[in-house]
Amino acid sequence: MADYLSVQALHKATPAFSPAVPVALLPYLAFVLLSATFALAFYFSTLPKEKIPAHELAVASAASLLGGFGVVALFCSVGVYV
Protein backbone atom coordinates (compact mmCIF):
# COMPACT_ATOMS: atom_id res chain seq x y z
CA MET A 1 0.00 0.00 0.00
CA ALA A 2 2.90 2.30 0.80
CA ASP A 3 4.35 1.48 -2.63
CA TYR A 4 1.08 2.41 -4.27
CA LEU A 5 0.85 5.71 -2.45
CA SER A 6 4.46 6.56 -3.25
CA VAL A 7 4.03 5.85 -6.97
CA GLN A 8 0.80 7.85 -6.89
CA ALA A 9 2.75 10.79 -5.43
CA LEU A 10 5.50 10.28 -8.01
CA HIS A 11 2.91 10.31 -10.78
CA LYS A 12 1.49 13.58 -9.55
CA ALA A 13 4.89 15.22 -9.06
CA THR A 14 6.66 14.33 -12.31
CA PRO A 15 6.37 16.72 -15.24
CA ALA A 16 3.82 15.70 -17.85
CA PHE A 17 4.90 13.61 -20.82
CA SER A 18 5.88 15.67 -23.85
CA PRO A 19 6.52 14.02 -27.20
CA ALA A 20 9.71 14.55 -29.19
CA VAL A 21 7.66 16.01 -32.02
CA PRO A 22 4.58 18.13 -31.17
CA VAL A 23 1.44 16.27 -32.15
CA ALA A 24 -0.08 19.21 -34.02
CA LEU A 25 2.94 19.21 -36.33
CA LEU A 26 2.66 15.56 -37.29
CA PRO A 27 0.25 15.88 -40.27
CA TYR A 28 2.41 18.59 -41.86
CA LEU A 29 5.56 16.62 -41.15
CA ALA A 30 3.99 13.55 -42.73
CA PHE A 31 3.07 15.52 -45.86
CA VAL A 32 6.52 17.07 -46.20
CA LEU A 33 8.44 13.87 -45.56
CA LEU A 34 6.31 11.70 -47.80
CA SER A 35 6.42 14.26 -50.65
CA ALA A 36 10.19 14.29 -50.35
CA THR A 37 10.22 10.48 -50.37
CA PHE A 38 8.05 10.44 -53.49
CA ALA A 39 10.24 13.03 -55.23
CA LEU A 40 13.42 11.19 -54.36
CA ALA A 41 11.95 7.87 -55.46
CA PHE A 42 11.03 9.44 -58.79
CA TYR A 43 14.55 10.84 -59.10
CA PHE A 44 15.95 7.41 -58.23
CA SER A 45 14.04 5.91 -61.12
CA THR A 46 15.70 8.29 -63.57
CA LEU A 47 19.27 7.56 -62.49
CA PRO A 48 21.50 5.70 -64.96
CA LYS A 49 23.03 2.32 -64.13
CA GLU A 50 26.60 2.48 -62.78
CA LYS A 51 29.10 -0.21 -61.89
CA ILE A 52 29.31 1.03 -58.31
CA PRO A 53 25.82 2.41 -57.66
CA ALA A 54 26.96 5.00 -55.13
CA HIS A 55 24.61 7.74 -56.29
CA GLU A 56 21.65 5.38 -56.51
CA LEU A 57 22.30 4.00 -53.07
CA ALA A 58 22.63 7.48 -51.60
CA VAL A 59 19.32 8.59 -53.09
CA ALA A 60 17.65 5.31 -52.08
CA SER A 61 18.89 5.61 -48.47
CA ALA A 62 17.72 9.20 -48.20
CA ALA A 63 14.32 8.28 -49.61
CA SER A 64 13.99 5.28 -47.25
CA LEU A 65 14.91 7.29 -44.17
CA LEU A 66 12.49 10.09 -44.99
CA GLY A 67 9.86 7.50 -45.84
CA GLY A 68 10.38 5.72 -42.52
CA PHE A 69 9.69 8.82 -40.46
CA GLY A 70 7.00 9.98 -42.88
CA VAL A 71 5.00 6.76 -42.54
CA VAL A 72 5.16 6.87 -38.72
CA ALA A 73 3.97 10.49 -38.81
CA LEU A 74 1.24 9.51 -41.30
CA PHE A 75 -0.06 6.70 -39.11
CA CYS A 76 -0.28 9.04 -36.11
CA SER A 77 -2.03 11.75 -38.14
CA VAL A 78 -4.81 9.44 -39.29
CA GLY A 79 -5.52 8.15 -35.80
CA VAL A 80 -3.54 4.91 -35.67
CA TYR A 81 -1.33 5.91 -32.79
CA VAL A 82 1.65 3.61 -33.28
Binding site: M1, D3, Y4, V7, Q8, L10, H11, K12, A13, T14, P15, A16, F17, S18, P19, A20, V21, V23, L26, T37, A41, F44, S45, K49, P53, E56, L57, A60, S61, A63, S64, L65, G67, G68, F69, V71, V72, F75, C76, G79, V80, Y81, V82
Partner: protein
Protein backbone atom coordinates in the same frame (compact mmCIF):
# COMPACT_ATOMS: atom_id res chain seq x y z
CA UNK B 1 -13.20 -9.91 -3.57
CA UNK B 2 -10.53 -7.39 -4.63
CA UNK B 3 -9.07 -6.27 -1.35
CA UNK B 4 -7.03 -3.20 -0.58
CA UNK B 5 -5.22 -4.78 2.32
CA UNK B 6 -2.69 -7.55 2.50
CA UNK B 7 -3.41 -11.04 3.73
CA UNK B 8 -1.09 -12.05 6.62
CA UNK B 9 2.37 -12.58 5.21
CA UNK B 10 2.88 -15.88 6.92
CA UNK B 11 0.48 -18.63 7.78
CA UNK B 12 2.68 -19.53 10.73
CA UNK B 13 2.34 -16.04 12.09
CA UNK B 14 -1.42 -16.19 11.69
CA UNK B 15 -1.49 -19.46 13.61
CA UNK B 16 0.35 -17.68 16.41
CA UNK B 17 -1.73 -14.51 16.25
CA UNK B 18 -5.17 -16.13 15.92
CA UNK B 19 -5.16 -17.68 19.40
CA UNK B 20 -4.06 -14.27 20.65
CA UNK B 21 -7.10 -12.85 18.91
CA UNK B 22 -9.45 -15.16 20.73
CA UNK B 23 -7.81 -14.21 23.98
CA UNK B 24 -7.96 -10.67 22.70
CA UNK B 25 -11.69 -11.35 22.49
CA UNK B 26 -11.71 -10.39 26.12
CA UNK B 27 -9.99 -7.10 25.58
CA UNK B 28 -12.94 -5.28 24.03
CA UNK B 29 -16.64 -4.91 24.59
CA UNK B 30 -19.19 -3.51 22.16
CA UNK B 31 -21.34 -0.94 23.90
CA UNK B 32 -23.48 -0.55 20.79
CA UNK B 33 -23.62 -1.88 17.24
CA UNK B 34 -25.82 -0.20 14.64
CA UNK B 35 -26.00 -1.73 11.17
CA UNK B 36 -27.64 0.24 8.37
CA UNK B 37 -28.45 -1.62 5.19
CA UNK B 38 -29.12 0.63 2.20
CA UNK B 39 -31.03 -1.56 -0.23
CA UNK B 40 -30.30 -1.10 -3.89
CA UNK B 41 -30.45 -3.06 -7.11
CA UNK B 42 -27.20 -4.75 -8.03
CA UNK B 43 -25.38 -3.30 -5.02
CA UNK B 44 -26.32 -3.11 -1.36
CA UNK B 45 -24.38 -0.76 0.90
CA UNK B 46 -24.04 -1.85 4.52
CA UNK B 47 -22.60 0.47 7.15
CA UNK B 48 -21.96 -0.98 10.59
CA UNK B 49 -20.96 1.29 13.44
CA UNK B 50 -19.30 -0.37 16.43
CA UNK B 51 -19.04 1.65 19.63
CA UNK B 52 -16.23 -0.25 21.38
CA UNK B 53 -14.88 -0.04 24.88
CA UNK B 54 -11.46 -1.42 25.77
CA UNK B 55 -11.30 -3.76 28.76
CA UNK B 56 -7.51 -3.91 28.94
CA UNK B 57 -4.73 -1.39 28.60
CA UNK B 58 -3.03 -1.14 25.22
CA UNK B 59 -5.86 -2.69 23.19
CA UNK B 60 -5.27 -1.75 19.58
CA UNK B 61 -6.38 -4.70 17.43
CA UNK B 62 -10.13 -5.09 16.98
CA UNK B 63 -11.58 -8.15 15.30
CA UNK B 64 -14.77 -8.26 13.24
CA UNK B 65 -16.53 -11.39 12.04
CA UNK B 66 -18.52 -12.03 8.88
CA UNK B 67 -20.77 -15.02 8.44
CA UNK B 68 -20.22 -17.27 5.43
CA UNK B 69 -23.18 -16.06 3.41
CA UNK B 70 -22.46 -12.40 4.11
CA UNK B 71 -18.79 -12.83 3.22
CA UNK B 72 -19.66 -14.52 -0.08
CA UNK B 73 -21.57 -11.41 -1.13
CA UNK B 74 -19.15 -8.80 0.20
CA UNK B 75 -16.97 -7.15 -2.46
CA UNK B 76 -15.72 -4.08 -0.63
CA UNK B 77 -14.73 -3.74 2.99
CA UNK B 78 -13.40 -0.58 4.56
CA UNK B 79 -12.85 0.44 8.18
CA UNK B 80 -12.61 3.99 9.46
CA UNK B 81 -12.94 5.81 12.73
CA UNK B 82 -16.20 7.76 12.92
CA UNK B 83 -15.70 11.27 11.57
CA UNK B 84 -12.28 10.54 10.02
CA UNK B 85 -11.57 9.92 6.36
CA UNK B 86 -8.40 7.85 6.72
CA UNK B 87 -8.76 4.12 6.12
CA UNK B 88 -7.57 1.89 8.96
CA UNK B 89 -5.22 -1.03 8.16
CA UNK B 90 -7.20 -4.23 7.74
CA UNK B 91 -5.87 -7.79 7.88
CA UNK B 92 -7.74 -10.76 6.51
CA UNK B 93 -7.53 -13.83 8.70
CA UNK B 94 -9.66 -15.96 6.44
CA UNK B 95 -12.14 -18.62 7.35
CA UNK B 96 -12.09 -19.95 10.88
CA UNK B 97 -13.12 -23.63 10.57
CA UNK B 98 -14.26 -24.07 14.17
CA UNK B 99 -16.54 -21.08 14.30
CA UNK B 100 -17.64 -20.95 10.66
CA UNK B 101 -16.93 -17.23 10.31
CA UNK B 102 -14.50 -15.06 8.41
CA UNK B 103 -12.35 -12.87 10.66
CA UNK B 104 -10.77 -9.51 9.92
CA UNK B 105 -8.64 -7.46 12.26
CA UNK B 106 -8.51 -3.69 12.33
CA UNK B 107 -5.58 -1.80 13.74
CA UNK B 108 -6.70 1.23 15.69
CA UNK B 109 -4.50 4.30 15.20
CA UNK B 110 -4.07 4.75 18.97
CA UNK B 111 -4.13 1.91 21.48
CA UNK B 112 -6.98 2.23 23.94
CA UNK B 113 -6.59 1.92 27.68
CA UNK B 114 -9.14 0.34 30.04
CA UNK B 115 -12.61 1.86 29.66
CA UNK B 116 -11.58 4.11 26.78
CA UNK B 117 -14.01 4.10 23.87
CA UNK B 118 -13.82 4.45 20.12
CA UNK B 119 -16.37 4.43 17.29
CA UNK B 120 -15.51 2.25 14.31
CA UNK B 121 -17.40 2.51 11.04
CA UNK B 122 -17.19 -0.51 8.75
CA UNK B 123 -18.53 0.04 5.25
CA UNK B 124 -19.18 -2.89 2.99
CA UNK B 125 -20.71 -3.21 -0.45
CA UNK B 126 -22.51 -6.44 -1.26
CA UNK B 127 -23.00 -7.70 -4.81
CA UNK B 128 -25.59 -10.24 -6.02
CA UNK B 129 -27.28 -9.98 -2.62
CA UNK B 130 -30.69 -9.22 -4.13
CA UNK B 131 -32.76 -11.16 -6.62
CA UNK B 132 -35.91 -10.23 -8.53
CA UNK B 133 -39.16 -11.47 -7.04
CA UNK B 134 -41.40 -12.30 -8.88
CA UNK B 135 -38.77 -13.67 -11.26
CA UNK B 136 -40.82 -12.79 -14.33
CA UNK B 137 -42.65 -9.57 -15.06
CA UNK B 138 -44.62 -8.32 -18.01
CA UNK B 139 -43.69 -5.08 -19.74
CA UNK B 140 -46.31 -3.11 -17.85
CA UNK B 141 -45.55 -4.64 -14.45
CA UNK B 142 -43.31 -3.14 -11.81
CA UNK B 143 -40.02 -4.47 -10.49
CA UNK B 144 -39.50 -5.87 -7.00
CA UNK B 145 -36.44 -7.37 -5.39
CA UNK B 146 -35.81 -9.53 -2.34
CA UNK B 147 -32.89 -9.13 0.03
CA UNK B 148 -31.90 -11.80 2.52
CA UNK B 149 -29.62 -11.30 5.50
CA UNK B 150 -29.03 -12.47 9.02
CA UNK B 151 -30.68 -10.68 11.88
CA UNK B 152 -27.82 -10.31 14.32
CA UNK B 153 -24.40 -8.82 13.67
CA UNK B 154 -21.71 -11.31 14.70
CA UNK B 155 -18.82 -10.26 16.88
CA UNK B 156 -16.18 -12.12 18.89
CA UNK B 157 -16.89 -9.72 21.76
CA UNK B 158 -19.87 -9.22 24.05
CA UNK B 159 -22.43 -6.72 22.81
CA UNK B 160 -24.52 -4.59 25.12
CA UNK B 161 -27.05 -3.44 22.54
CA UNK B 162 -27.41 -3.74 18.78
CA UNK B 163 -29.94 -2.86 16.14
CA UNK B 164 -30.24 -3.23 12.38
CA UNK B 165 -31.93 -0.70 10.12
CA UNK B 166 -32.92 -1.73 6.64
CA UNK B 167 -33.59 1.24 4.36
CA UNK B 168 -35.37 0.77 1.08
CA UNK B 169 -35.03 3.33 -1.74
CA UNK B 170 -38.81 3.53 -2.05
CA UNK B 171 -41.42 3.39 0.73
CA UNK B 172 -43.15 0.50 -1.06
CA UNK B 173 -42.06 -2.50 0.99
CA UNK B 174 -44.20 -5.51 0.15
CA UNK B 175 -43.18 -7.68 3.08
CA UNK B 176 -40.47 -8.17 5.67
CA UNK B 177 -39.72 -11.01 8.06
CA UNK B 178 -40.72 -10.63 11.68
CA UNK B 179 -38.52 -13.22 13.38
CA UNK B 180 -39.96 -15.09 16.32
CA UNK B 181 -38.33 -16.46 19.45
CA UNK B 182 -35.52 -13.97 19.45
CA UNK B 183 -33.82 -14.29 22.81
CA UNK B 184 -32.34 -10.89 23.22
CA UNK B 185 -35.37 -8.65 23.24
CA UNK B 186 -38.72 -8.33 24.91
CA UNK B 187 -40.14 -5.59 22.70
CA UNK B 188 -41.33 -5.87 19.11
CA UNK B 189 -38.49 -7.24 17.01
CA UNK B 190 -39.30 -5.32 13.83
CA UNK B 191 -40.81 -1.86 13.42
CA UNK B 192 -41.47 -0.17 10.10
CA UNK B 193 -41.53 3.58 9.64
CA UNK B 194 -41.76 4.87 6.06
CA UNK B 195 -39.02 3.24 4.06
CA UNK B 196 -37.01 2.03 7.09
CA UNK B 197 -37.43 -1.22 8.97
CA UNK B 198 -35.71 -1.32 12.35
CA UNK B 199 -34.86 -4.69 13.90
CA UNK B 200 -34.05 -4.48 17.57
CA UNK B 201 -32.80 -3.25 19.93
CA UNK B 202 -31.23 -6.53 21.09
CA UNK B 203 -29.59 -6.55 24.48
CA UNK B 204 -26.73 -8.45 26.10
CA UNK B 205 -25.55 -10.65 23.28
CA UNK B 206 -22.61 -12.92 24.21
CA UNK B 207 -19.62 -13.36 21.86
CA UNK B 208 -21.40 -14.55 18.74
CA UNK B 209 -18.60 -15.52 16.32
CA UNK B 210 -19.19 -19.20 16.99
CA UNK B 211 -20.95 -21.92 15.00
CA UNK B 212 -23.11 -22.63 18.04
CA UNK B 213 -24.56 -19.16 17.94
CA UNK B 214 -25.09 -19.36 14.17
CA UNK B 215 -27.03 -22.62 14.56
CA UNK B 216 -29.09 -21.85 17.63
CA UNK B 217 -29.58 -18.15 18.03
CA UNK B 218 -29.19 -16.50 14.60
CA UNK B 219 -32.32 -15.72 12.60
CA UNK B 220 -32.78 -14.93 8.92
CA UNK B 221 -34.64 -11.94 7.58
CA UNK B 222 -35.98 -11.29 4.09
CA UNK B 223 -37.19 -7.94 2.81
CA UNK B 224 -39.30 -7.74 -0.33
CA UNK B 225 -39.30 -4.22 -1.74
CA UNK B 226 -40.17 -2.36 -4.88
CA UNK B 227 -37.20 -0.98 -6.85
CA UNK B 228 -37.82 1.74 -9.41
CA UNK B 229 -34.45 1.78 -11.18
CA UNK B 230 -32.93 -0.69 -13.62
CA UNK B 231 -30.66 -3.38 -12.15
CA UNK B 232 -27.62 -3.32 -14.39
CA UNK B 233 -25.00 -6.02 -14.36
CA UNK B 234 -21.87 -6.00 -16.49
CA UNK B 235 -21.16 -9.72 -16.83
CA UNK B 236 -17.84 -9.08 -18.54
CA UNK B 237 -15.68 -6.03 -19.08
CA UNK B 238 -12.51 -6.07 -21.17
CA UNK B 239 -10.48 -2.89 -21.10
CA UNK B 240 -7.41 -2.36 -23.28
CA UNK B 241 -5.24 0.72 -22.77
CA UNK B 242 -2.56 1.43 -25.35
CA UNK B 243 0.22 3.94 -24.75
CA UNK B 244 1.78 5.63 -27.79
CA UNK B 245 4.81 7.85 -27.41
CA UNK B 246 5.02 8.92 -31.09
CA UNK B 247 1.41 10.01 -31.12
CA UNK B 248 1.43 11.19 -27.47
CA UNK B 249 -1.82 9.31 -27.05
CA UNK B 250 -3.56 6.95 -24.65
CA UNK B 251 -6.23 4.88 -26.34
CA UNK B 252 -8.74 3.12 -24.11
CA UNK B 253 -11.10 0.54 -25.56
CA UNK B 254 -13.79 -1.11 -23.45
CA UNK B 255 -15.78 -4.16 -24.43
CA UNK B 256 -18.95 -4.49 -22.36
CA UNK B 257 -21.29 -7.42 -21.95
CA UNK B 258 -24.37 -5.97 -20.28
CA UNK B 259 -27.14 -7.90 -18.61
CA UNK B 260 -30.38 -6.57 -17.16
CA UNK B 261 -30.61 -8.46 -13.88
CA UNK B 262 -34.20 -7.45 -13.24
CA UNK B 263 -37.21 -9.75 -13.59
CA UNK B 264 -37.26 -11.71 -16.87
CA UNK B 265 -39.71 -10.48 -19.47
CA UNK B 266 -42.97 -12.44 -19.37
CA UNK B 267 -44.40 -12.87 -22.84
CA UNK B 268 -43.09 -11.10 -25.89
CA UNK B 269 -41.70 -7.59 -26.23
CA UNK B 270 -44.33 -5.20 -27.59
CA UNK B 271 -42.84 -2.21 -29.37
CA UNK B 272 -46.23 -0.53 -29.27
CA UNK B 273 -46.44 -0.90 -25.50
CA UNK B 274 -42.90 0.42 -25.18
CA UNK B 275 -43.63 3.48 -27.33
CA UNK B 276 -46.84 4.16 -25.40
CA UNK B 277 -44.97 4.07 -22.11
CA UNK B 278 -42.36 6.50 -23.43
CA UNK B 279 -45.00 8.80 -24.84
CA UNK B 280 -46.83 9.09 -21.54
CA UNK B 281 -43.56 9.43 -19.61
CA UNK B 282 -44.08 6.23 -17.63
CA UNK B 283 -41.04 4.10 -18.47
CA UNK B 284 -40.94 0.66 -16.89
CA UNK B 285 -38.22 0.31 -14.21
CA UNK B 286 -36.94 -2.97 -15.60
CA UNK B 287 -36.23 -1.59 -19.09
CA UNK B 288 -32.94 0.09 -19.91
CA UNK B 289 -33.48 2.34 -22.94
CA UNK B 290 -30.20 4.25 -22.69
CA UNK B 291 -27.02 4.47 -20.65
CA UNK B 292 -25.19 7.53 -19.52
CA UNK B 293 -21.46 7.07 -18.98
CA UNK B 294 -19.10 9.55 -17.36
CA UNK B 295 -15.88 9.30 -19.32
CA UNK B 296 -12.66 11.15 -18.46
CA UNK B 297 -12.21 14.80 -19.42
CA UNK B 298 -10.18 15.72 -22.50
CA UNK B 299 -11.11 12.74 -24.68
CA UNK B 300 -11.67 12.90 -28.41
CA UNK B 301 -12.50 10.57 -31.31
CA UNK B 302 -14.80 8.29 -29.34
CA UNK B 303 -16.23 5.28 -31.16
CA UNK B 304 -19.14 3.02 -30.24
CA UNK B 305 -19.94 -0.11 -32.20
CA UNK B 306 -21.42 -3.52 -31.62
CA UNK B 307 -21.57 -6.81 -33.55
CA UNK B 308 -23.74 -5.31 -36.29
CA UNK B 309 -21.55 -2.24 -36.80
CA UNK B 310 -21.33 1.37 -35.78
CA UNK B 311 -24.13 2.58 -33.51
CA UNK B 312 -24.98 6.14 -34.37
CA UNK B 313 -27.46 6.69 -31.53
CA UNK B 314 -24.97 8.19 -29.14
CA UNK B 315 -24.07 11.70 -28.08
CA UNK B 316 -20.75 12.73 -26.58
CA UNK B 317 -20.28 15.99 -24.76
CA UNK B 318 -16.59 16.47 -24.02
CA UNK B 319 -15.01 18.66 -21.39
CA UNK B 320 -11.51 20.15 -21.68
CA UNK B 321 -8.48 18.27 -20.33
CA UNK B 322 -7.63 18.39 -16.68
CA UNK B 323 -3.98 18.33 -15.56
CA UNK B 324 -2.32 14.97 -14.84
CA UNK B 325 -2.94 13.63 -11.37
CA UNK B 326 -5.67 16.16 -10.53
CA UNK B 327 -8.79 14.87 -8.81
CA UNK B 328 -11.41 14.49 -11.53
CA UNK B 329 -14.29 16.88 -10.98
CA UNK B 330 -15.30 17.19 -14.61
CA UNK B 331 -16.36 14.36 -16.87
CA UNK B 332 -17.19 13.93 -20.51
CA UNK B 333 -20.73 12.63 -20.78
CA UNK B 334 -21.58 9.96 -23.30
CA UNK B 335 -25.23 9.04 -23.79
CA UNK B 336 -25.55 5.65 -25.42
CA UNK B 337 -28.77 4.35 -26.85
CA UNK B 338 -28.39 0.65 -27.77
CA UNK B 339 -30.18 -0.72 -30.81
CA UNK B 340 -32.93 -2.11 -28.62
CA UNK B 341 -34.07 -1.36 -25.06
CA UNK B 342 -32.56 -3.92 -22.70
CA UNK B 343 -35.57 -5.49 -21.02
CA UNK B 344 -35.35 -7.77 -17.96
CA UNK B 345 -33.19 -10.81 -18.57
CA UNK B 346 -31.81 -9.48 -21.88
CA UNK B 347 -28.18 -8.98 -22.80
CA UNK B 348 -26.34 -6.46 -24.94
CA UNK B 349 -22.68 -6.25 -25.85
CA UNK B 350 -20.75 -3.39 -27.42
CA UNK B 351 -17.32 -1.84 -27.84
CA UNK B 352 -16.60 1.70 -26.73
CA UNK B 353 -13.25 3.42 -27.18
CA UNK B 354 -11.64 6.83 -27.17
CA UNK B 355 -8.31 8.62 -27.50
CA UNK B 356 -6.89 10.99 -24.93
CA UNK B 357 -3.70 13.07 -24.77
CA UNK B 358 -0.90 11.14 -23.04
CA UNK B 359 0.08 14.34 -21.20
CA UNK B 360 -3.00 13.89 -18.99
CA UNK B 361 -1.98 10.42 -17.88
CA UNK B 362 1.79 10.05 -18.07
CA UNK B 363 4.78 11.76 -16.58
CA UNK B 364 8.50 11.52 -17.27
CA UNK B 365 11.08 11.57 -14.50
CA UNK B 366 14.30 12.87 -16.08
CA UNK B 367 16.45 11.84 -13.12
CA UNK B 368 15.65 8.12 -13.36
CA UNK B 369 14.56 8.06 -17.02
CA UNK B 370 11.27 6.47 -15.98
CA UNK B 371 7.84 7.08 -17.39
CA UNK B 372 4.86 6.81 -15.02
CA UNK B 373 1.44 6.27 -16.53
CA UNK B 374 -1.91 5.95 -14.77
CA UNK B 375 -4.67 3.84 -16.29
CA UNK B 376 -8.17 3.92 -14.72
CA UNK B 377 -9.40 0.39 -13.96
CA UNK B 378 -12.89 1.00 -15.34
CA UNK B 379 -15.56 3.60 -16.01
CA UNK B 380 -17.75 3.43 -12.95
CA UNK B 381 -21.44 2.97 -13.74
CA UNK B 382 -23.13 3.94 -10.45
CA UNK B 383 -25.20 1.17 -8.91
CA UNK B 384 -23.91 -1.57 -11.18
CA UNK B 385 -21.70 -4.56 -10.56
CA UNK B 386 -18.97 -5.90 -12.86
CA UNK B 387 -18.78 -9.68 -12.54
CA UNK B 388 -15.56 -10.21 -14.47
CA UNK B 389 -13.06 -7.58 -15.56
CA UNK B 390 -9.85 -7.85 -17.54
CA UNK B 391 -7.57 -4.85 -17.87
CA UNK B 392 -4.81 -4.95 -20.50
CA UNK B 393 -2.16 -2.24 -20.60
CA UNK B 394 -0.03 -2.15 -23.76
CA UNK B 395 3.21 -0.24 -23.38
CA UNK B 396 5.39 1.14 -26.22
CA UNK B 397 7.67 -1.27 -28.06
CA UNK B 398 10.98 -1.88 -26.30
CA UNK B 399 9.76 -0.81 -22.85
CA UNK B 400 11.96 -2.18 -20.06
CA UNK B 401 12.01 -2.19 -16.23
CA UNK B 402 8.25 -2.54 -16.15
CA UNK B 403 6.63 -2.26 -12.71
CA UNK B 404 2.94 -1.92 -12.00
CA UNK B 405 1.07 -0.90 -8.86
CA UNK B 406 -2.59 -1.77 -8.39
CA UNK B 407 -5.04 -0.24 -5.86
CA UNK B 408 -6.50 -3.70 -5.08
CA UNK B 409 -4.76 -7.03 -5.73
CA UNK B 410 -5.75 -8.66 -9.00
CA UNK B 411 -6.92 -12.26 -9.23
CA UNK B 412 -4.44 -12.92 -12.01
CA UNK B 413 -1.48 -10.96 -13.42
CA UNK B 414 0.55 -11.72 -16.54
CA UNK B 415 2.97 -9.90 -18.82
CA UNK B 416 2.98 -10.98 -22.45
CA UNK B 417 3.74 -9.57 -25.89
CA UNK B 418 1.22 -7.79 -28.08
CA UNK B 419 1.90 -7.30 -31.77
CA UNK B 420 0.36 -4.30 -33.44
CA UNK B 421 0.99 -1.84 -36.30
CA UNK B 422 4.61 -1.25 -37.37
CA UNK B 423 5.90 -3.61 -34.66
CA UNK B 424 9.03 -5.73 -34.98
CA UNK B 425 9.57 -7.38 -31.59
CA UNK B 426 6.11 -6.58 -30.22
CA UNK B 427 4.92 -4.50 -27.28
CA UNK B 428 4.82 -5.56 -23.62
CA UNK B 429 1.27 -6.13 -22.42
CA UNK B 430 0.22 -6.35 -18.77
CA UNK B 431 -3.02 -8.29 -18.20
CA UNK B 432 -4.84 -8.04 -14.86
CA UNK B 433 -8.04 -9.89 -13.98
CA UNK B 434 -10.61 -8.78 -11.42
CA UNK B 435 -14.02 -9.99 -10.27
CA UNK B 436 -17.03 -8.45 -8.51
CA UNK B 437 -16.15 -4.81 -8.96
CA UNK B 438 -18.54 -2.22 -7.55
CA UNK B 439 -18.88 1.52 -7.86
CA UNK B 440 -16.23 1.87 -5.13
CA UNK B 441 -13.59 0.22 -7.30
CA UNK B 442 -12.87 3.16 -9.59
CA UNK B 443 -9.13 3.39 -8.94
CA UNK B 444 -6.03 3.84 -11.11
CA UNK B 445 -3.31 1.36 -12.00
CA UNK B 446 0.14 2.96 -12.12
CA UNK B 447 2.82 1.55 -14.42
CA UNK B 448 6.45 2.67 -14.48
CA UNK B 449 8.72 1.77 -17.37
CA UNK B 450 11.73 2.98 -19.31
CA UNK B 451 11.99 3.35 -23.08
CA UNK B 452 15.53 3.89 -24.41
CA UNK B 453 16.04 6.15 -27.43
CA UNK B 454 16.89 3.16 -29.61
CA UNK B 455 13.51 1.60 -28.79
CA UNK B 456 11.76 4.80 -29.86
CA UNK B 457 13.57 4.56 -33.19
CA UNK B 458 12.50 0.95 -33.81
CA UNK B 459 9.41 1.90 -35.79
CA UNK B 460 10.93 4.44 -38.21
CA UNK B 461 13.88 2.08 -38.72
CA UNK B 462 11.52 -0.80 -39.49
CA UNK B 463 9.72 1.24 -42.16
CA UNK B 464 13.05 2.56 -43.49
CA UNK B 465 14.27 -1.02 -43.85
CA UNK B 466 11.11 -1.95 -45.74
CA UNK B 467 11.57 0.99 -48.13
CA UNK B 468 15.27 0.16 -48.52
CA UNK B 469 14.30 -3.39 -49.42
CA UNK B 470 12.02 -2.09 -52.17
CA UNK B 471 14.77 0.19 -53.48
CA UNK B 472 17.27 -2.68 -53.46
CA UNK B 473 14.82 -4.75 -55.47
CA UNK B 474 14.50 -1.85 -57.91
CA UNK B 475 18.30 -1.63 -58.17
CA UNK B 476 18.51 -5.34 -58.94
CA UNK B 477 15.57 -5.16 -61.35
CA UNK B 478 17.27 -2.48 -63.39
CA UNK B 479 20.34 -4.68 -63.85
CA UNK B 480 18.53 -7.79 -65.08
CA UNK B 481 17.80 -8.12 -68.79
CA UNK B 482 14.21 -9.26 -69.32
CA UNK B 483 14.19 -8.98 -73.10
CA UNK B 484 13.08 -12.11 -74.90
CA UNK B 485 15.40 -11.59 -77.90
CA UNK B 486 18.85 -10.15 -77.46
CA UNK B 487 19.85 -7.59 -80.08
Amino acid sequence: MPRHWRAPFSFLLSVVILPLCTSAANSFENTAIVRTVELGGALVHVTTTYAVKALEDGSSVYTIALAEQEHAHTSWLEAKLKGESERLPLEDFGFHQDSGVFLYTIELPKALNTNQTANLVIETVQTHATYPWPEEAGQKDGQSLKYEAELLVLSPYKTAVQRTKVRSPSPQIHSYTTPEDVEFTTDAVATKSGATITYGPFHDIPPSATSDFADKKQKHITVHYSYDYPVLEVTKLERAAEVSHWGANLNIEDKYWLHNAGPRLKGHFSRLEYQTQNYFGRPAPHTIPALQLHLPAGIHDAYYYDLVGNVSTSHLRTTPSIPKGAAPNQYSVLELRPRYPIVGGWNYSFTLGWDSPLEDYAGYDKATGKYVVSVPIMTVIPGSVVDEAEVKIVLPEGATDIEYFVPYPALDETISTHISYLDTVGRPKITLKYAQLTDKHGGNIYVTYKVPFSAHMKKPVAVTTAFAGIFTLALAWKRVDFRIRRK
